[in-house]
C-alpha cells in the first residue's frame, strides 16, 4: 500500500485555485523531488500532506490516516510525518536539546533522560553532536536547518517533507544540508522534497514531479525528464534553472 495517496485534491485560497485535481501516490522508500516555478503550488501541496492546509476537494491518505477527513487525527499523523521549512522555525527560546526533545517529551511522554539521549543521537546524525546545549541564535543558518531536521527525526517519522529547505542558505551552507538529506535518502527514508537543487533531484530523486499552474504537469525518472522533457513548459523551466 502506498504511504501517501493524494486523490484529485483541490486547494483554494478564496477565489484563487492553487491546486487543481492533483493526484499522487508515494511508495515507502521513494524520494520524490518536486520542482516548478514560484506559485505553481508545490509548497502548498506539501503542506496539505501533513494537514497544515485544509483542502476543498479530493482526499489525502497518509499511512492509513485520512488527513482530509473532518475529524482527522492530525496529532497521530504528525508524529509519523516530519516537515522541515525554508525558514527553519526552530524555537528561539529553547536550547538545541530542548528544541529536539520538546515533542518526544510532550507528545510521546518520553523520559527527560531518554529524550536527551535521543537528541544526542539525532544531532550526531546531522553532524552537530557538539551543539546539544547551544541556542538557535548561536548557530549558522545551515546548522539551524540541520537542527530542524534532527528535531523532526527525533519523532522517528515514516515520511519526511522538505519545503525548500536550502533556499535561505548560501551555497556553502546548502552543501552541508544536502549532505544530511543524502544520508537520509540512502538510509531509505521516504521523502518528498520541494527543491530548487536540480543536482540533488537528479542524483537522489527516485522520481521527479514538475508542477505547473497548480497541476502535476509532468513526472518521471529524473534522468529521463532532465534529458528529454516531454512538455514545452518543463523544457522552458529547465532551460531557465539549469543556466
Amino acid at each position: 500500500m502506498s504511504l501517501v495517496e493524494l486523490k484529485g485534491i483541490t486547494k483554494r485560497y478564496g477565489e484563487v485555485t492553487v491546486l487543481k485535481d492533483v493526484s499522487l501516490s508515494v511508495e515507502p522508500g521513494e524520494v520524490v523531488a518536486v520542482i516548478g516555478r514560484s506559485g505553481s503550488g508545490k509548497s502548498t501541496m506539501l503542506r496539505c500532506v501533513n494537514g497544515l492546509e485544509p483542502i476543498q476537494g479530493g482526499s489525502i491518505t497518509v499511512d492509513g490516516i485520512e488527513v482530509s477527513a473532518p475529524k482527522a487525527d492530525l496529532r497521530t499523523l504528525r508524529q509519523r510525518v516530519g516537515i522541515v521549512f525554508q525558514s527553519f522555525n526552530l524555537f528561539p527560546h529553547l536550547s538545541v536539546a530542548d528544541n529536539i526533545t520538546l515533542a518526544p517529551r510532550i507528545v510521546k511522554k518520553m523520559e527527560p533522560g531518554a529524550a536527551r539521549k535521543l537528541a544526542a543521537d539525532v544531532l550526531a546524525r546531522v553532524g552537530l553532536a557538539e551543539k546539544l546545549d547551544a541556542y538557535p541564535d548561536q548557530l549558522s543558518g545551515g546548522q539551524q536547518q540541520r537542527v530542524a531536521i534532527a528535531r523532526s527525526l527525533a519523532m522517528q517519522p515514516k515520511l519526511m517533507l522538505f519545503d525548500e529547505v536550502t533556499s535561505a542558505l548560501d551555497p556553502e551552507l546548502t552543501g552541508e544540508v544536502l549532505k544530511v538529506l543524502e544520508d537520509m535518502a540512502r538510509d531509505g527514508m521516504t521523502m518528498i522534497l520541494v527543491t530548487h537543487e536540480m543536482g540533488f533531484a537528479r542524483r537522489f530523486g527516485s522520481r521527479l514531479l514538475f508542477m505547473h499552474e497548480g497541476r502535476i504537469h509532468e513526472q518521471g525518472k529524473p534522468a529521463d525528464l532532465f534529458a528529454a522533457p516531454k512538455t514545452p513548459e518543463l523544457a522552458t523551466f529547465l532551460n531557465a534553472v539549469l543556466h
Binding site: L52, R75, T76, F85, N89, L90, F91, I106, D137, R151
Partner: protein, 216 residues
Amino acid sequence: MIRTFGTTDILYLVAAARWTLLLTAIAFVGAAAIGMVVALIRVAPFKPARFLAGAYIQVVQGTPLLVWLFVIFFGVPLLGVTVNPWIAAALAFSVYGSAFLGEIWRGALQSIPKTQWEAGASLGLSTAEQLRHVIIPQSVRIAIPPTVGFLVQLIKNTSLAATIGLVELTREGQLTAAGTFASFSVYLTVAALYFAICFPLTQWSRSLERKLNVAR
C-alpha cells in the same frame, strides 16, 4: 481644632499608602486572571468567542473607571445588595485592568510569528501545548515591559477609590488636608509618596526593556 501638618500626619499618609499597595495587588491579580482569559480567547480559533472578548474590551475601555466604581458602589445597593468599598474597588479595578492586560497580552501573543505555531503543530503538539510550550514563553519577554507600565497606571488610578470612601493614600490625604488646611503641603506629600512607589517600577520596566532588547 485646626492642627498643623506635622510628622505624625506624614506617618499616617505613609501608613495609608499600604492600602494603596494592597488595593493595587488585589486589582492586579484580578485583572491578570481575567486578562489572561480574555487574551487567550482573542487568539483562539473560534470567531464568536473572539468577537465577544473584543466587545468586552471595547466596552470596558470605552467607559470611565470612575463611573463603574459608582455603578457598583452606589448603584448595586439600590438592588438590595450591600457593597463594601473594598469589594466594589476590587471588582471595578479587576474588570478595568483585565481589558488593558488582555490587549497587551493579546498583542504579545500575536507578535509571535505564525510559523512558530506551525512548527509546533507539525511536531504533533496540540493547540494548548503550542501555546504553553512555544508561544507563551516567547511572548512573556515581549509582554513584561508594557505590563509593568500598566501596573504603574494602576497604582495611580487606585486613587479613584478615594471617591467611594476607601481610605487609601489619596483619601487619607483628603482627611489630613481637611484637618490641617495645609492642602498644598499635604497633597505634595501624597504626590511624592505615589512617585516613590511608581518611580522604581518605571525604572525596572525600562531596564527590563533594555535587557530584553539585547537578549535572544
